[in-house]
């Protein structure tokens, strides 16, 4: 067997790939999606709270948000996952009686995601022109209502591409959950592929898992590009020029 054949066998052994497919589809894929979606949703909610705290006029709230963000953005994901997964395991077991570290995996991913998403939201909210808040306040809306109805919706819209990018990161980072030890039915894509690779001494199952990741992430990447273009260019519609003749309402009102 020459070197090329050897490489082909190692990476592209069809039989090994086909053999791992059922597990990837029925175990790996649902778990990866569950981990990414759950932590994405929790991270988005917590991130919004962090962003609001981060721009608050209350210095203490700002500091809490700052410190939280610095820590969870500054540490490697695997460190957080291990510390949370192993450190809080006994606590969780005492409360719920369950030995599964799965919820802790979601928690760790959510903590990381919220730090990044909080910064994304904060930058988006702060990019909204000051005049928007001013116009809303001038109509008689309170600061809170103005943020909720006018400023935050615009800020969030601007950072949708960054938000989808963050979700792509989560899909990939969910593979790190394998560090905290999962039972067979809880394995995500990477772990399923890795187990099969260890059992067969062949890397093809990992390639198969990789293809699954790409099937998730590539469409999302293109979604980002689509949203980005849409946000920058807008829907195709041109402003029409004012028609001076038609636009002056002639009420001819008498001075009161």
């Amino acid at each position: 067997m020459d070197a090329f054949e050897q490489l082909g066998k190692t990476f592209f052994d069809w039989e090994a790939m086909v053999a791992v497919l059922p597990d990837l589809l029925t175990v790996g894929l649902p778990n990866t999606l569950l981990l990414a979606l759950a932590s994405g949703i929790i991270g988005t909610i917590a991130g919004m709270i962090l962003a609001i705290m981060g721009i608050s006029r209350n210095r203490v709230l700002r500091w809490i948000a700052r410190i939280y963000t610095d820590i969870f953005r500054g540490l490697p994901a695997v460190v957080i996952i291990l510390l949370i997964g192993l450190g809080l395991g006994p606590v969780l077991r005492e409360i719920t009686g369950s030995t599964s570290p799965y919820p802790l995996g979601i928690l760790a991913l959510s903590l990381i995601a919220s730090a990044y998403i909080g910064e994304i939201f904060r930058s988006g909210i702060q990019s909204v022109e000051k005049g928007q808040l001013e116009a809303s306040r001038a109509l008689g809306f309170s600061y809170g209502s103005s943020m909720q109805l006018v400023v935050v919706p615009q800020g969030v819209r601007r950072v949708l591409p960054a938000l989808v990018n963050q979700f792509i990161s989560l899909i990939k980072e969910s593979s790190l959950i394998y560090f905290i030890g999962l039972v067979a039915s809880e394995r995500e894509l990477f772990r399923v592929g890795n187990d099969a690779a260890s059992n067969t001494g062949n890397l093809s199952p990992l390639i198969a898992a990789g293809v699954f990741y790409l099937c998730l992430t590539i469409p999302l990447t293109h979604l980002v590009n689509f949203i980005d273009t849409r946000l920058r260019v807008g829907r195709k519609q041109k402003p029409e020029p004012d028609d001076p003749a038609a636009m002056i309402p002639t009420s001819g009102g008498v001075r009161a």
């Binding site: 928007q132 001013e134 109509l139 008689g140 819209r157 004012d242 636009m247 309402p249």
Partner: protein, 245 residues
């Protein structure tokens, strides 16, 4: 347009500093109900800041603000601002909402109108500014002049007792200025109480009842348009007028 029964606005001895920068240094301004007061002066004279202090977007350091003779400084500022409409130089329409929603938002959320009621009222206001047919458009798809007229409709929808215009035509292309000024003149002649910060000297002279000239955070001169424009008393006003006219 219905006659408005209230709206006499008075600012008394208003002071405001940003750090060491004294932006307003004891401003007195009185606008009788149903009249239009224009405020003119060079850039940085504090005109736009004065408007924001009068509706408490910025709280004054000192002085009093009275609406119909009663001080409003102890009131909830949000309540005060519902009684004073404001139109901005940069329009500040909400770009994520349709023209109709821009006008009806405050009606639904602050006036607690039903969606249908708010819609009717908003459409009527858009009619008034000649833009009912743009109700479903986004502000970004309108010209500057159209956006400003929507902004005026948005402010009018709240049935304000007083309207503020902060250089409402300064950001418009020259050919669009006329339409907005005509609309403002219509409002004035319909009896709206208005405070108009403007660089449009023609408007100031022809439409307003009183003109106030500000410079360096103080009122330098104030009076009917004829005396301000034809018989300026101070060198500062004379030199300003010779620069802009």
């Amino acid at each position: 347009m219905k006659t408005i029964e209230s709206g006499t606005l008075t600012g008394k001895g208003l002071h405001l500093s940003f750090g060491t920068n004294r932006v307003l240094r004891g401003i007195d301004l009185h606008v009788e109900r149903g009249t239009t007061a224009s405020v003119i002066g060079p850039s940085g004279s504090g005109k736009s800041t004065l408007l924001r202090v009068l509706n408490r977007l910025i709280e004054p350091d000192q002085g009093d603000i009275l609406l119909d003779g009663r001080s409003v400084l102890k009131d909830n500022p949000d309540e005060l601002r519902r009684r004073i409409g404001m139109v901005f130089q940069q329009f500040n329409l909400f770009p994520h909402k349709t023209v109709l929603d821009n006008v009806s938002l405050a009606l639904r959320k602050l006036r607690r109108m039903s969606a249908e009621e708010a819609r009717e009222k908003a459409l009527a206001q858009l009619d008034l500014v000649g833009l009912r047919h743009k109700a479903d458009a986004r502000p970004g798809n309108l010209s500057g002049g159209q956006q400003q007229r929507v902004a005026i409709a948005r402010a009018l929808a709240m049935d304000p007792e007083v309207m503020f215009f902060d250089e409402a035509t300064s950001a418009l292309d020259p050919e669009l200025v006329k339409g907005v000024l005509a609309l403002m003149a219509d409002l004035a002649s319909a009896g709206m109480t208005m405070v108009v910060v403007t660089h449009e000297m023609g408007f100031s002279r022809n439409v307003s009842d009183t003109v106030t000239f500000m410079d360096g955070g103080v009122v330098v001169e104030s009076g009917p348009p004829a005396s301000i424009f034809d018989d300026p008393q101070t060198p500062r006003l004379r030199s300003f007028l010779s620069d802009v006219l």
